[in-house]
Amino acid sequence: MSRKDLATDLAELEQALQGTSGRQYWRSLDELAGTAAFQKLMRREFPQQADVWPDSLSRRHFLTLMGASLALAGLSGCSVKPAPMGKIVPYVQPPREIVAGEPLFFATAQPLPGGAVGLLVESHMGRPTKIEGNPDHPASGGATSIYHQASILTLYDPDRSQTVTYQGRTRAWTEALATLRTGLEKERDNGGAAVRILSEPILSPSLARQRERLLKSLPKAKWHVYEPLLQDARLEAMRLAFGQNLDCHYAFNKADVVLSLDADFLGSEPGNLRWIADFMSRRRIRTPASDSTQASMNRLYCIETEVTCTGAKADHRLAVRVQDIEGLARAIASKLGVSTAGSSGSAGPHEKWVAAVAKDLEAHRGRVLVLAGNRQPVAVHLLAHAINQHLGNVGQTVFYSRPVTEGPSPRIESLRELADDMRQDRVRLLIVLDANPVYSAPADIKFMDALERVPLRVHLGLYQDETARRCHWHLNEAHFLETWGDARAFDGTATLMQPLIEPLYRGRSAIELVAFLATLQETPGEELVRSRWRDHWNQQTRGPKTDDAFDAFWKTSLHDGVVAGTGFPIRNVALENDWQRHLEPQASASGASSRPGDESFELAFAPDPTVFDGSFANNGWLQECPKPSTTLTWDNAALMSPDTARQLGVELGEYAHGGEHGGFKMPVVELKVEDRSVLAPAWIVPGHADHSITVHFGYGRESAGRVGGQRDQKVGFNAYAMRTSSQPWFVPNVRVTKTDRTHLLACTQQHNLMENRDLVRSASLEKFRQKPDFASEPEKQKEIDETRRAPAPLEFYPPLEPPASTPKWGMVIDLTTCVGCKACVVACQAENNIPVVGKQQVAAGREMHWIRVDRYVGGTAEAPAEFHFQPVPCMHCERAPCEYVCPVEATVHSAEGLNDMVYNRCVGTRFCSNNCSYKVRRFNFFHYADFETGSLRLQYNPDVTVRSRGVMEKCSYCVQRIRHAQIDADREERPIADGEVVTACQAACPAGAIAFGDLSNSASEAAKWRSSPLNYALLEELGTRPRTTYLAAVRNPNPELEGG
């Protein structure tokens, strides 16, 4: 099947669209074009079945098999013997806190770039199983990102490095420490001049202290810092603008108008949770009345290249190349009266857009927020600071404080200096702490060659990664859930990290190792962290400095997950007078106005939305989590706009396994800059800027593990290989050639389509005020049509009358606030023991996620006007179509309205999935769950059955959490309170877009949401009466730009 006719189809469809009045939404280019192949394949529930069947069967043979399997089907549920009797092993001395059968929660934090996020970790009898956000922590507020959810899987990852090794052979920790001791003692005489340490940016105050001790004992040693997601421009701009190293903080809840210059602040990056919550606190629209929330609904303008979560949620989005953003920033700044020495920039074709934005910013002085993304050059950052100061936002929506990281500022210069020293044989001992520069260093630094010259190289890390393999010694690090430590959040608030479990493989933390390097003695991590905070406490406390008083402080801090009063004070800073001096005239002053030549393409880099900088590459949950805007899994790709694709001759590839549940065989393009090149599968993204190609880091790992890629079976391509330190985020000119090769991409975009039956509803705030019932109107129209045809609705089944006093569970999902970050997907996977199925199975449409996030695009393929994310869990229909067709009653209704799935009755007919209007049922085609690997078994939630082959499964509304809360309430003879049952997806959601509760209690949050005029149900016309409903999306576009 070729897609040659796609262009013509698209053109036809666009014509067709022009005739209709309302906004049309579509999920994929194929759906938009409505190709015949797509139509055909969409009508089949499990189209890949036929492909997998090994040989063709005669009808007779088929019936024989069928009869035999039917006859034996019931037997699989029977066992002659009672369940196997295990042993019960009680404690000898019971720990006081542990009540067998009840989980405990411990506060800790996960250090990730951008600052640590406070977590509460659920522990079952000493076994951490699930991570939740710590509501008292400023960076979390109770929410988590996909990285926090997935870190529990990293803890139990069987590919984690389990021993100390010397040149690949197993050694003992004592041997490694002895080698280090001899090495350091030799270096001590000359002050450690030939000793180098390389680490990631230091978020831990205890590690910072050990670093100071080390540098005191070896004064000439040097400590280098490297992070792959370079922030040089951001940090440098602050230093230039304010004359000091700073960090910048934003109060999105106070901003009426936000302008993002390539900053994906709503994306899935780890530090964004607080921003998402603050931003969305201004978008909780329930009624059309102009009450306080709505009068102040914020507005978001976004200029970006790739389609990010931020761009998707923006009220106005402009897609331009990364390099053109500077011109637009200059144009906006000069419109606002900020002097932009050098070049005032030109908005080119976007003149009207820029003028309207500038006017809107001006009108909301002091309540505006302008922020620039990491990828942008210094000038754009400077302009953002200048606009914020010019409009009086500093102190209102923008704040500055000392930088969160301690030690040297993380700049690329630091790594280059180290590489130069190594190359000139000035380094005799290198210790790499938890960094992987061999994989992620920019190509021009040639880190690997330099590294090989160092006579003694030691690596501490969680994995035997690329750097570990090129070091003499590899020391296995303890996971953050296994060690004592501490870490600062974005605002400086420190959290003490406590071990949730004894290190599985006797690993040690970076703090412990550096303490050893400094003192040549082993000190337990707890003591190191305690002494750091004892000194802090000694300085802070005014009362008696007794051990007991400190103990109380220590315990409170551990328990709360935050050390009180450690947030950094706000610094009052002003722009240096001569800040404009640093605004170099733009290289191509014409900026966006020039139409780039047909042959020139820009190559833009970005961290991957799921595996991030590559450090999460071996995490199956993250690999399989569909990336928000592309819904690709298990791969990165060269992302490009439909226009660019057309220029390059790239077409939508062939379906690999069948349309609806499709994997795509996409053409591979070669990207070439100077002598560096990579082969990357192309992927067409509507809404991507033209003449720009985005590639994500984090793939192409040579030594990540069985999931993330090994030398002989790489996953994706390595985008770091294309990067240089002078052009760390984009290359203005890349040569792109299409090759004859194709590559299979597993994309869930078209999985589980419900066809376009008005599934996403959205309106502007203005329209919502004029017509509050816009969301429910389409149903009414259909109802009218329906009643014309049939006199009365037919009903086969007796009405289900739930007894009074029984709760009526329901869920409401707010499409206005959902940012599509997928935290719900991974949280659900962690809570409900959902297996990972792998790329081939995803390509066959068999991913097991109980909640999926559909992406809808409104408008044309070339110029999409709107993006929407729609999380779809089981609807728990009151009239559930699945229940009527199950021959063995494996899916039945509970009195509370839950659509129960009884795994042990299921014989795998899949009739239910066929009959499900929402396509939310998932089938275990193979034995996906891992019952064998010991460490992975530890992760399973003991309250949820691990499903085996041949069983259907789906969202249960986290029934285990409902029952737990219900039993607690019942025991205390009280009704279950609203908010007592929190589903896993709801708990993780940083935007607060999910409400769950008892719909029969009108005071419950879910019932209140449901009574909003925005409430609508999916496919309500089918009469399924879903318990999960949606609040239509409300957007706040600028009237001046509407229709333009």
Partner: protein
């Protein structure tokens, strides 16, 4: 052509027609009986444990309360198996030289836990919660039988789903006042059904539809 089968075969063929049905029914019946028998359910099978602990002696004769050892039964899904420490509370003072108790002392000294064979076991997809049952007036003896008369502990009931459902459909037949939950010698009064209904109201026990929903026990 002569007949292939003699006349007598008529009876045989009739017999085999009905007989096969009978045999099928018999096989089915045997299966059903077997699964309900102690062979299938393990009910009534005494287990020889590492330490010959006698509930009869400790509960029946000495009158120790269930909760002295099964401490979490009122608060957790799991009733709790006593740690070695609990045994040693008394046995560091009495029967200190007993040979039977040697494994207990060894465990206490070596800090290695005792290992008990499970007596009551439910399949993995059943999520039973002790706390809610004892808090709603289901006596220990209702499921575990007369523990105070068991020198060796055994599973008293079949633990089949139909047995669970009997009670979930008609809780009034088993409910007793909360004060009597841990009383092994409790006798149901003559007006049990009446009392049961009254207690169901008092303890806010859910109705049959709710109690027999699948997800109450299966997740």
């Amino acid at each position: 052509m002569p007949q292939v089968f003699p006349r007598a075969m008529n009876i045989l063929s009739r017999a085999s027609l009905f007989g096969s049905l009978l045999v099928a029914a018999l096989v089915l019946w045997i299966c059903l009986v077997y699964t309900r028998s102690p062979y299938g359910t393990a009910a009534g099978v005494m287990r020889v444990q590492q330490v010959p602990f006698s509930h009869q002696h400790h509960v029946g004769v000495l009158g120790i309360d269930c909760r002295y050892c099964h401490t979490t039964v009122e608060h957790s899904s799991f009733a709790g198996i006593p740690p070695t420490k609990t045994c040693m509370n008394c046995h560091s003072q009495i029967w200190v030289g007993s040979e039977m108790l040697e494994p207990v002392r060894a465990s206490y000294q070596s800090q290695k836990p005792l290992q008990w064979d499970r007596v009551n076991n439910l399949p993995g997809f059943v999520y039973f919660d002790h706390s809610i049952h004892v808090n709603k007036g289901i006596g220990c003896a209702s499921c575990h039988g007369r523990i105070d008369e068991m020198p060796f502990t055994y599973q008293a009931k079949s633990l089949l789903m139909e047995w669970c459902l009997d009670c979930h459909r008609h809780p009034e037949r088993e409910i007793r006042p909360r004060a009597e939950v841990f009383n092994m010698k409790y006798q149901q009064p003559a007006n049990q059904l009446e009392l049961g209904r009254q207690l169901m109201d008092e303890y806010h026990i859910a109705n049959e539809t709710t109690l027999t929903s699948c997800s109450v026990c299966h997740r």
